[in-house]
Assembly symmetry: C2
Homo-oligomer: 360 residues x 2
């Protein structure tokens, strides 16, 4: 008996992927071993990892002059990895601050003797907005412009790719990657924790343009050194093998279901359905500026917060789980990643309508 799971991450995964993983967890490909038990340097796992990378590249349309790295430590480790790999002490770097995750990235960068320029800061809006396109300017001596296309906590998303001029654009795409087509060539570096649209926690994918390699500081921990990791096919040390295997299964699931074009259409329809229900009611409110609304994470509040607990209890009973909002925002949050079918969003909307009718 599966539920509709609106967790912000780790998040719902495609059922066929979980069923496949369960069916071969004690005997993978007739080897008599689990994929959890095989050497990362054995030919079977090397082929598995190569297939995961190749399929991800096809699905995303990653150009040939980009490397795809499978790292650990979540996106948070890359908050350090990015300045360590792309800058020297004294350099200038630029950040857009649109939420708690970009703020953490800024804070970590300040540890590395840099001139950290926050070129747009939406904190004053309690992170309910994104800067208007063209409203900020990027210092052209910056090593990179970092931004967070989708903020998981605030449910705030950029509706455009920022223009950084000649400066390398760096994106923490953890909660938006694979949700729709993306022009990778606009970016210098894209990174994403896997635990939303790509698989389980414990894997961070880094997609980096080759010309940005080769300048890591000597103090970079080797596991965060993109150049050394790239030269070793992400196997400088033991990678998180099970997470890489699941990423491959999910990339194939995406390909079998129409790729990112189809996924983008589904996700747009899901978001429109849910925001439509929120906007049609005086009982539910979404705090985010309309043009900045996330397709993936939809926070909403009830007119009377005293009803929050009842709302959550009833939702749980209806098979709709993990709807409690982030503690810093309150209310509810429905995360509707790729694996959430539109039927799940419809079930949530139906429940919201019923709850409002009986309790408002």
């Amino acid at each position: 008996m599966r539920v509709y799971n609106f967790s912000a991450g780790p998040a719902q995964l495609p059922l066929p992927v979980l069923e496949r993983a369960a069916s071969e967890l004690t005997d993978w490909s007739g080897s008599g071993m689990s994929v959890l038990e095989v050497s990362h340097r054995g030919k079977d796992f090397v082929a598995c990892a190569a297939d995961a990378e190749a399929t991800l590249r096809r699905v995303m349309g990653v150009p040939e002059d980009y490397r795809v790295l499978f790292l650990q430590g979540g996106a948070t480790a890359q908050f350090a990895g990015i300045p360590l790999n792309l800058t020297a002490p004294g350099d200038t770097v630029a950040y857009l601050n649109t939420g708690q995750w970009s703020a953490k990235a800024v804070e970590q960068a300040r540890a590395y003797d840099l001139d950290v320029v926050v070129v747009a800061d939406e904190a004053a809006s309690s992170y309910t907005t994104t800067p208007e396109e063209g409203s900020f300017s990027v210092p052209q001596d910056a090593r990179y412009l970092h931004y967070t296309p989708n903020e998981t906590i605030g449910g705030v998303e950029f509706g455009y790719v920022p223009d950084a001029g000649d400066v390398a654009l760096v994106a923490d795409a953890s909660s938006t990657i694979l949700s729709r087509p993306l022009d990778v060539s606009r970016y210098g570096l894209i990174y994403a924790g896997a635990q939303k649209n790509m698989g389980p926690s414990g894997l961070c994918v880094v997609i980096v343009r080759e010309d940005l390699l080769g300048r890591a500081r000597t103090t970079t921990p080797v596991v965060l050194d993109y150049t050394r990791m790239s030269a070793a096919d992400s196997m400088l040390n033991t990678p998180p093998t099970f997470a890489v295997y699941l990423l491959g299964l999910i990339a194939h699931w995406l390909e079998d279901n129409g790729g990112l074009e189809a996924m983008g259409e589904r996700n747009r329809a899901k978001a429109e359905l849910l925001y439509g229900a929120v906007d049609a009611s005086d009982f539910y409110t979404n705090p985010v500026q309309e043009r900045s609304r996330s397709w993936m994470n939809v926070p909403f509040t009830l007119a009377d917060p005293a009803l929050d607990a009842d709302f959550l209890l009833g939702a749980q009973a209806a098979g709709l789980t993990n709807l409690k909002g982030h503690r810093s925002v309150g209310g509810m949050r429905a995360s509707i990643y790729n694996a959430m079918p539109i039927e799940g969003v419809q079930a949530l909307v139906d429940y919201m309508t019923d709850f409002e009718a009986t309790r408002a």
Copy 2:
């Protein structure tokens, strides 16, 4: 049809653990969700992680003044994490070099502006020995003495706990942890990648004495900052949830099977059986000094290396897998971690005897 899998890591896991994980991979504890899909901050997973830690503490007898951290990046990430957390620039640190893993730890430490003193170096023996007890002296102004109790590649193991005087003893226990009882109170810090005796790859357990916290350098990536990670119960960011869950299952499996005393007896018997067979034959040779032989990783060579490929093919056909030695050592390597039953070692010994009889 399961095989006996002698992989050095990721390595064979207890079948009951894999069967349990497979049986609940789409519906964990009746939640309608996989353990892969739940928030690390939800009460179910928080309880799961707390139980994994508590069970590991019971099994190992970890004293109360030690913290247990669940980190990422493998032991290799801690090659940087240890100097970053325990030293200031200009400090002295001491290392015992007994193999490729300790050599990598030394190399990484040299990146952090330290006086790195290698107090014993076994490279001249091609890493087939450990220093004799009492044969080296540790500078008493060193911040720590680092050593590798068991070297996975060379199959070399310390038969004693080095005396570091008042200097904190730091151990990379990746390939020996949980293989027998260990007096944690002798150590300042013990760390281990999970993928040998503790679970899948992607999780690194750090056990650190509290008085060593609080001195991380400001340049420490936050995911490697033991003090901050400890304050956040290892959930400063999303932990590798599935690996933590499996660690808990394995800790319970250990407890249900007699704990580390029983495991130590089993492992001693397994090692004696295999070394006995090697020593009884002129056809097989183990290169390691007798008192330094590993219980976990047993390299051995055939008298005629031209027979290596046939040996491996026959072994595979007999359901004995992953016996090929590390490329730097050659020959064979049988890793016989906790999950390898003595029946598996007996099957290997029988196969070795047959092979010698027909091919020598």
